[in-house]
Amino acid sequence: MIKTEILIIGAGPAGLGAAIEAARLGAKTLVVDENRKAGGQLYKQIHKFFGSSEHYAGVRGFQIADKLLAEADGLGVEILLNTRALGLLDDGTVAVLADGKAESIEADKVILAVGAKENALVFPGWTLPGVMTAGAAQTFSNVYGILVGQEIVMIGSGNVGLIVSYQLTQGGAEVKALVEAVPDVTGYEVHANKIRRAGIPIYTSHTVIEARGKDHVEEAVIAELDADFQPIPGTEKTVKADTILIAVGLNPRIELAKMFGCAMTYEGALGGTQPVHDDCMRSSNPKVYVCGDQAGVEEASAALEEGRLAGIHAAISLGKESADNAALLNCARASLASLRSGAFAGKRRLTKQRIMEKGATYYAG
């Protein structure tokens, strides 16, 4: 049995943010992550972040991961890699598989920062080799130096679809088409403009209706969609492609939160079913905090700030002292609020407010 004050599950931006703040306040902090490297998806993000300098604007994702890991290391945070959290045991400890060996961890507070998973999209031929998530293509290109294909059709014009399309062209692929089911590009205009400048055709109100090929994708059939998202007969076009990438959103990974009995809510704008939380990132279970994409899919910078807030509150709740606890919490909340204050963040802001109102009911009075 391993004992710690604060156990953090997931070493992506949310988990690292939580670990850094909890350790800074003097809490004994242990992070576990199923991967062989900490940093979560940040190492795949080779583009520069937006926003203000406090949110690492102008810094590339993998450089942010390096900074966070160095900071966590300097504060004495322990990170167990290749360690998968399996669930909650009857005695309240967390079962993990560490390097293939079963172990249990006893903690006063648990911060869940397990992230999200990509949505699939089903169409005839979607199981063919060469059809995969945009994230898979991004991982293999940006981390391992393997281009998964050379003639790409991308489904989805959100930020993931736009950014990954551009990054694959940097790796030498040709993006033959980017299709988007709704009438407008859904990601940031600055990313969309990069795609247009790179000469990649964007087909709005279009989707892939079929992937064709024998043992691998050889062509994609795209078609225009009507107002009810039904393919319009006669608009089919065949695009020669060896790869079809799916970038149609992510959904929170909620398995562990469910095991911990955290109350759930459904918010389509943030990815689907997710645990409710209050304005300190506490779930309905007072022992458990939730943060990052698992608590509503946003962006890495929001995940990091939610993690910081969770880490601060968890440490304070264990009696750790700072010069001014209330100021520290408010500062973290303000930083998070500023990320949701932009012109494009209105929906996220309102959705998060609704989630926090639900979460607060568990701590009323």
């Binding site: 199923e34 995969m132 991982t139 290109s141 281009l147 998964v148 060896d242």
Partner: protein, 105 residues
Amino acid sequence: MPREIKEHPIVDYPEGEMTRFRFDGKEMEGRLGEPIAAALLRNGISVFRNTEKRKEPRSLFCGIGQCSDCVVVVNGCPNTRSCVTPLEAGMEIETQRGVGKVGKL
């Protein structure tokens, strides 16, 4: 089709040592420690397994160990996720046929 990225404007890929492994009995080379899936793609292999009933080909899908679509048989052990299992020298990797039973592949 898949290939190695030789030059990239932003990323400096670490110079990994190359090592030998076998796939369905055929000698191949991959970078030591890279995911098995990366080593297979580098060698032009994109069918990693066949489904139990309809024998359909499957390959990389999520790339981060969540979906289990890319499983292969490694040193006799079926259902090994190729996207998150590091390549080791001398690995015997096989296409997984069906659901993968130990001792009866």
